[in-house]
Amino acid sequence: MRAQELSEAHRFLDGELSAPETERFKELMERKPDIARYVNQIRDIDSSINSYETVKAPPVNFPSPAFSGITNLLTVRWRIPAVPAAAAALLFLALTIRVLLPTGTVMSDYQQTSLRLVYFSKAASTVSVVGSFNGWEREIQLLPREDSGYWVTQITVPPGEYSYAFMVDGNARVADPTANSFVEDDYGSKNSVVRVGI
């Protein structure tokens, strides 16, 4: 079979040939039994795959918002990079010692930094923000500044680099246009990046 005939055979099977092309191809199959045989074999394969039975999916564990961090640790524990995991363990240890130490022992405080996020839209009814600062789990509402069109929130986070995006009217996802840098996530969406306290 020639390459052109092969291509036409597949387009014929997909119903992508025009009516005159279909007629011409049917005539070709009558003249060339090897092409007709090829088409029938491929059609059998397609229909056999198409007739595969659907299997009931096993239940999936969705993380509850309150325990999502724990669930994620359990589920993807082998994917946690060693350095952040060690840092988290050290932090936990430091906080534990801080609690257990007698009053008066000098320890450096665990630093928290304020992050103020502002979005401008006069048309929006609601604006919220989602980001890596809370594992993308919860939307934080921004409050309107009277009728100015400015929406503002202030959150407290540990020093670090965070990616985030605004949710406008519940579903339109918008990167912060005033951010200094942006990053594309695994799903092809653009997020803004902010560095706080570092």
Partner: protein, 167 residues
């Protein structure tokens, strides 16, 4: 996308997605783990889902990306005709056992199992799931016409493998 909305949309595609994953992994335990991870990753990234997009296309793409990253240099892609004759032993049920099919099924399943990854996935997406070439292209991050060519080549290779098996 809200949590409840994600779960509602997931329920609509869960069985189809799991069946598809069974087919591409060829192993029920692996398919189960892949499903769990894909759904979890989708759930955590649900805020990135654009409402105008198709949920199933989006979730399939996540699952396929996880699978591709895990099996980018899979042994399946090497000397597949040799593997037709020496099928590896398994500890978990095979798709044949799960689906209970015995007619043309077994040979077809075996041929699918050894078909190159880059052809098997578009072929299943096209004929098992009924996605268009445009949707397949989106899921695989390739042009629509490249998706079409992969399906053509997949069918062609399947025919050759089946002929080899029955020879």
């Amino acid at each position: 996308m809200k949590s409840e909305e994600f779960q509602r949309e997931y329920q609509k595609v869960s069985d189809r997605l799991f069946t598809f994953l069974l087919r591409i992994t060829g192993d029920s335990e692996e398919a189960r783990e892949l499903l769990q991870e894909a759904v979890l990753r989708g759930y955590r990234g649900r805020h990135t889902f654009r409402q105008e997009a198709d949920f199933s296309t989006w979730l399939y793409r996540i699952a396929i990306n996880i699978w591709k990253n895990q099996h980018i240099k899979s042994a399946r892609e090497q000397d597949y005709l040799q593997q037709v004759r020496t099928v590896p032993e398994r500890n978990t049920p095979t798709p044949e056992e799960i689906f209970g099919r015995r007619e043309m099924g077994q040979e077809l399943d075996r041929a699918l199992e050894v078909l190159e990854e880059k052809y098997r996935i578009p072929l299943l997406l096209k004929h098992m799931e009924g996605f268009s070439y445009r949707e397949i292209g989106k899921m695989l991050g390739i042009e629509e016409n490249a998706a079409r060519v992969r399906v053509y080549r997949a069918r062609h290779a399947m025919r050759a493998i089946l002929e080899e098996v029955s020879a």
